[in-house]
Amino acid sequence: MSESVAATSAKKSWRGNGGVRGWYGRQSLVVRVVLGIVFAVLAVLLPYVGDVPVIGPQIITVGIDWPSALFNMSYYVLLALGLNVVVGFAGLLDLGYVGFFAVGAYTVALFTSPDSVLHTEWKWVAAIPVALAVTMVSGLILGWPTLRLRGDYLAIVTLGFAEIIRIFATSSETLRGDRGFSDLPHPPGDYSDGKAIFGVADATPYYWLGLAVIIVVIFAVRNLDRSRVGRSWLAIREDEEAAEIMGVRTIKYKLWAFAIGAFIGGLGGVMFAGQQGFMNSQTFQLQFSILVLAGVVMGGSGNIFGAILGGALISYIPDRLRGIEDPIWHTDLFGFRFAIFGAVIIAIMIFRPQGLIPSRRRAMELKDREKEVAPQ
C-alpha cells in the first residue's frame, strides 16, 4: 500500500505546491534576476517609504527617526545572516554570538578612537581589515576548544564566551568599561558641497552602506551553502558521526562555520561602530545574542531569506513600538517590547513552527511529521 501512496504524495510535495518559493524555483533565471533587482531597488527606496500615502505612515517608526531604524535593522540582519551559518547550516547552537559583534566593534574603537590606549586614531576604513581578522581569530578561539561539544553543552560554553567578553570590556582599563569610546570616526566620503556623506544627522547613507554589505554577504553565504561546504555543514548538522564516516572533515568545517559566522558578526560590529560614534560595555548585553537567535529561528533557521526577515523583525518591532503610548498606564510601549516579543514568538512557533520562510528541507520535514501523526 505505502509505496504508491508515498510516491504520489511526494510528487505533489516536491515543488508541486511549494507556495511562493515553489513558484520562484520554477521561474527562469531571467525572471529570478529581475525579481532580485526589483527587491534590491525596493530596499534601496525603503528610507522614503514614509512618503507613500496611507500605508507609509503606518510602516515608519515614530519614536526614532526612520533611517536610524533602518540602519539598526541592517546590522541586525547582518548578525542574523552570520548566526544562520553557525546555527542554521552547521547546527552549532551558539548563544554568545554578540561576542563577535563586540569584538568587531571594540577592535574598530581601539584603533580609531582618540580615547584608545593605542593612540593610532586610524580612519574607519583602515580599521576594517584588522577588525575582521581579529573577529575571525576569535571565532576560531571559541571554536577550537568547543569542537567536541554539541547542543546544550555548546550553548552554555558560547554563552560563557559572550559574558567573558562583556565582563572583560566592563572591567578592563584598556576597553574603558562604562566610559566607553567616543569620537569614533565615520565612514569616509564627502558630497560635492563639502559636507560629509556619513554625518550624524541623517542615517540614510549608513543604511545604504549596510544594505550593500548585506547584498554581498547574501551572495557569499549562498555560494557557500550551494557547494561542498554547505553540504558538509548540513551533513554535520544532521548526523555528525555519519558525516565523518562519509569522509567529511568535520573539525575543519565546524571551524569554518565559526570563523565565517564570526566574520559576518564582526562586520556588523564594524558597521555599528562606524555609525554610532560612541560605544561602551553596556552596548553588548546578552539579550542581544538571544534576540538575534530568536530572529533566526523565527525567520526560518537554515534559510538565508528567513534569517534576513527574522533579523529585520527583531529590530523593527521594538523600534516601531517606541513613542507609542499604551492606553492603560500611558507609558511608552517600548517598555513592553520583550513581552510583546514573547507573544509574537509564541504565536509564530504555534502557527508556523518551521519559521516564517523555512528552509525547503525543514518545511518538508515538518510536513512529513504531520503525515506521520495523521496518516491518510
Binding site: S2, A220, A235, E238, I245, M246, R361
Partner: protein
C-alpha cells in the same frame, strides 16, 4: 570476561592468520598474495574491550580483493563492533588492522573513508533533511578538493567538481535504482529506498571495500532478492563487499566466504557450505551446548 575458552587456534585454517612479516609500517609493502587472491583487509588478533566486556576477543581473518565476504553470528556476537573497529569508530584494545597492507588503527574516520573503506549503518543513518542527491554528493565530496575560497568565488575547480559530483551521484542513484527520487528529501523515501540510498552514498566515496551492516534487515523476500542482485552488481564493478547479515539464506546465497562470530570470538571460517555444516556454527545458532557438539 569469562568467555568459554574452549577453542581458539585449531580453526586457524587455510585462509586467515598469515602474520606474514608485519610489514605494516613499510607503507607500500605488498601483502603476501593468498591462495585465491590478494589480501585487502586483514584483522590480526584484534581484541576490543569496553571496561570488563570483551566485545571482540582475538579475532583474526582476512578479506581478499573482489570477494563477497560474510560476517555472521547471533545477536551481540560482535559483528557491528568489528565494523566499527575497521572504520575507525572504535580503536582496538590490541591487535592490528591492515588495509591494503597499511595499518589503519588510530586513523581518523574520514581518512579511512578516503583510503577506500565505506560503510552503511545497521539503523539507516542518512542526512534526513537533505535530498537523496545531496546525500550521495556528500559521499562524492570525500575526494573533492574544492576549498571554501573556491566555493565562495565560484572558481573553476568548484564548477568542475560540482558537475562531476552531480553526474556521478545521479549515476549511482540510477545504479541502485532510485534515480527518480533524486530531488526528494531523504526522510521522505521509503525504508527500502533509504537503504539503497545509503549504499549509493557509500559507493560515492569510491571505496575498494564496501561494508554493509545488515542491509536486508526488515526486507521482504522479494526485496531481499533485489538486494542480492545489487550486491552482486557491486562486486562485479570491482568492489570487495563485506556483509553483515542475520538472514542465513541470504548470506549463503551470495557470499564467497564467511566468518562466524560468537561472543566476540571467531568460531568458524570458510565457504558457505563448510560453515553451514560446522557443528560449532550449528550450536551457536541453535543453542546446542558447545561441549555436546
Amino acid at each position: 570476561m569469562s568467555e568459554p575458552h574452549i577453542e581458539t587456534p585449531q580453526e586457524l585454517d587455510d585462509a586467515n592468520a598469515k602474520p606474514v612479516d608485519r610489514p605494516a609500517q613499510t607503507g607500500a609493502a605488498k601483502p603476501s598474495p593468498d591462495k585465491k587472491g590478494d589480501v585487502l583487509l586483514e584483522m590480526e588478533n584484534v581484541t576490543l574491550r569496553f571496561g570488563g566486556v570483551v566485545a571482540l576477543n582475538d579475532v583474526s581473518f582476512a578479506l581478499r580483493k573482489g570477494e563477497i565476504f560474510g560476517l555472521i553470528g547471533p545477536n551481540g556476537a560482535g559483528k557491528t563492533t568489528c565494523f566499527n573497529a575497521m572504520t575507525g569508530v572504535y580503536r582496538p584494545t590490541s591487535g592490528a588492522i591492515r588495509f591494503k597492507g597499511e595499518s589503519i588503527v588510530g586513523k581518523k574516520k574520514h581518512e579511512i573513508t578516503r583510503g577506500g573503506i565505506a560503510r552503511t549503518f545497521q539503523n539507516v543513518r542518512l542526512f534526513p533533511e537533505m535530498t537523496a542527491l545531496e546525500n550521495v554528493m556528500v559521499g562524492a565530496d570525500a575526494h573533492h578538493k574544492t576549498s571554501v575560497l573556491s566555493a565562495l568565488f565560484r572558481l573553476p575547480r568548484f564548477w568542475k567538481e560540482e558537475h562531476e559530483g552531480r553526474d556521478k551521484s545521479l549515476e549511482l542513484l540510477r545504479f541502485v535504482g532510485i534515480e527518480h527520487r533524486a530531488g526528494e528529501v531523504s526522510r521522505n523515501l521509503s525504508y527500502g529506498e533509504q537503504r539503497r540510498l545509503e549504499i549509493a552514498r557509500a559507493l560515492a566515496t569510491d571505496p575498494t571495500l564496501l561494508c554493509l551492516d545488515e542491509p536486508a534487515a526488515g526486507f521482504n523476500p522479494a526485496e531481499k532478492a533485489e538486494l542480492l542482485e545489487l550486491i552482486r552488481k557491486i562486486r562485479d564493478t570491482g568492489v570487495t563487499v563485506l556483509l553483515i547479515e542475520h538472514d542465513m539464506r541470504l548470506v549463503m546465497g551470495v557470499t564467497d566466504r564467511i566468518v562466524v562470530l560468537e561472543f566476540g570470538k571467531k568460531i568458524a571460517e570458510g565457504t558457505p557450505a563448510e560453515v553451514r555444516d560446522d557443528p560449532k556454527v550449528i550450536a551457536a545458532y541453535l543453542g546446542v551446548p558447545t561441549d555436546a557438539a
